[in-house]
Amino acid sequence: MSTDAIALPRTELASRPFVDALHEWVTTVDHKRLGILYIVYALVFLVIGGFEAGVMRIQLVRPHNDFVSPQVFNRMFTMHGTTMIFFVAMPLVFGFANYLVPLMIGARDMAFPRLNAFSFWLTGFGGLLLYFSLVGANGLYGGGNAPDVGWFAYAPLTSRTFSVGHSTDFWTLGLLVSGFGSIGTAINILTTILCLRCPGMSLGKMPLLVWLNFVMSGMVVLAVSPLTAAQLMLLVDRYLGGHFFDTQAGGSAVIWMHFFWIFGHPEVYVLVIPAFAFASEIIPVFSRKAIFGYPVMVAATICIGFIGMSVWAHHMFTVGLSSNANTFFVLSTMAIAVPTGIKIFNWLATMWGGKIEFKTPMLFCVGFLFQFLIAGLTGIMLSAAPFDWQLGNSYFVVAHFHYVIVGGILFTVFAAFYYWFPKMTGRMCDETLGKLHFWLFLIGFHLTFDFMHIPGLLGMPRRIYTYEPGRGWDIWNLIVTIGVFFQALGTLVFVANLLWSYFKGKAAGNDPWDAWTLEWSTNSPPPAYNFATIPTVKSRRPLWDLKHPDDPDWKYE
């Protein structure tokens, strides 16, 4: 077909010097290589962040445990949260967006390839800056050697008085730098989608993944910038003696909360919308049906984008807002369940009557559907302010948002790995290992996060170092910790699968899943120029039209 790679004689040397390969990767501006760099970078930090979670769970496995000191425990939950959000989830989202968006819209690269590389390295060095605090933060003050103020770093904990040394500065600067990278990449994705679509691809014919990443990027531009502004203010406070968050000079600690959560809640949607995007591509292919309700899916996503910007203060019910503010944020938070519910029904309707193939990517997507539903239901429970007054800052909240982030986002990210791995490497992932990974992780996930709700309901606060025996929390904490080992084992199988399949997996061919979007029309892995000829599309499923010239989609759309 027209979009096949240009056949060139293989000129690769048998053994290229390692330095040459390294140089190519470091200086690359190719969206596919940068995408893979983002993803590998995120995987490294996923292991680090997971290790930190493991330390916390071992500490909490029984009452009066002293596996680590309280100081180390504080550092662990701060580093775990910061790492997982900013240096695992965000790079994963941007990595897949980088790799897939240009391929899916039939473009040769992103709109600004060099900005793309610049943004990646900013994000990369942001993560290094955060972890450099382990050696660099001690300073001359005898302060802690890693940030320990929690991932949302409430004032006045971050003031010079309570945060001596430089650990908080490393936290601030790491997030500031990676934030610039995020904004750069988001602008790049927006521009790519608006300017580089192939002929025939009107906005209404873009794959859903592209639409959803468009909304995600718009949210990054509007939501990460407030965090940047708040971090600048914190730097002014810490280095220039400013009083933004200094209550003794009339400043307000609550305004930091507002600024942080104006970023923090949209951030949840920044992460979950790409997860929706993966599900919206994978579920139709393995149900052998076109997505149900494409226009409604797009409209629901845009709705989520707008409403998601106006729900932030539901993180602050326990602070004591006015009753008007409480009412507004309760209602807006509940309202967001409507477009999200529409999406769940659309995925179910896509599967309904389909010829479902339970390959590994589909298994993870089905797990996502159920788990994300439960995560949404506990979300609605917490959106009611009186309920939140009771359970805010308890393990119930921790269980709720891990249900969203692990049960929702991480499961679809795993699905995306299994689904697009053949495109990225040219080799299939092993199905047996994949299914083992799925079941191990599913069991581990449910052991950990189902049972984590219960100590929360029983009154166990989050971020405590240890607890008294005999409060009814002991057995639940034990089960929760046991679940972590299943998840770690599952992740180990996953990494082993990736490595084994990369070297030994069976050849994938261009289109192993019999899918319908443009990335499957080119080689696996795609050549640097993506498409030998820029494709022309007539419908949302260009490869379906190609494979079924007798019954093409464009007759019906």
Binding site: C195, C198, S225, F244, G251
Partner: protein, 198 residues
């Protein structure tokens, strides 16, 4: 997709979509606008909450002349880009230089105002909440003016060397978008700091 190879040249595809530079610049402007919004909100939130003096009413005077300088530079940069579109590089260079001069005058005005505030009125960024929010907001805007001036000066150097021609009008226009944004932000900052906050 057609089974037969397409014949549409890539150039035509690029021409049928909006220009990359403009879209990218609008994205940057949206992000910057969000950053300024947070600083403006902080300023408004802390108006009148300082525990000690000096207060804005006592020390701030309205910088009308320098405001006129900055706002009129939007006009001159527009005239400059229009001249470049027509291929008149000389006229472009003249108006571009006027734009830089007006921007520099504005920065000079800010510098003088700060000098007076610091050494005469004893207001620094750590004096009180007013100082913290005032220097942050006006300083953030001033920083954007300085960055804009650096970019404008680079184009000026290229013009003097003779490397700017009419086909660069589109790119220069993208830069002028940024300059217009910096001016528009000043309208907001001016209103907040010198009108409502005083």
């Amino acid at each position: 997709m057609n089974a037969t190879p397409t014949t549409i040249a890539e150039r035509e595809i690029m021409l049928s979509r909006p220009a990359r530079g403009r879209v990218g610049m609008f994205g940057l402007i949206a992000a910057e606008a969000a950053i300024f919004t947070i600083f403006v909100v902080a300023y408004l939130f802390y108006v009148g909450k300082s525990l000690t003096g000096p207060m804005p009413r006592e020390v701030l005077s309205v910088p009308i002349f320098y405001t006129i300088c900055l706002l009129s530079s939007s006009l001159t940069i527009h005239v400059a880009v229009k001249a470049l579109r027509r291929g008149n590089v000389r006229v472009f260079g003249d108006w571009w230089l006027v734009t830089i001069a007006l921007g520099a005058a504005f920065i000079y005005g800010t510098a003088m105002e700060w000098h007076r505030l610091i050494f005469h009125d004893g207001l620094t960024i750590s004096t009180n909440l007013f100082g913290t929010t005032y220097y942050s907001l006006v300083g953030l805007h001033g920083l954007h003016v300085v960055v804009g001036l650096l970019a404008l000066s680079m184009v000026m150097v290229f013009t003097l060397v003779g490397n700017v021609r009419s086909e660069h009008a589109e790119r220069v226009d993208v830069l002028s978008l940024y300059w217009h944004f910096v001016d528009a932000v000043w309208v907001v900052v001016f209103t907040v700091v010198y009108v409502t906050g005083r």
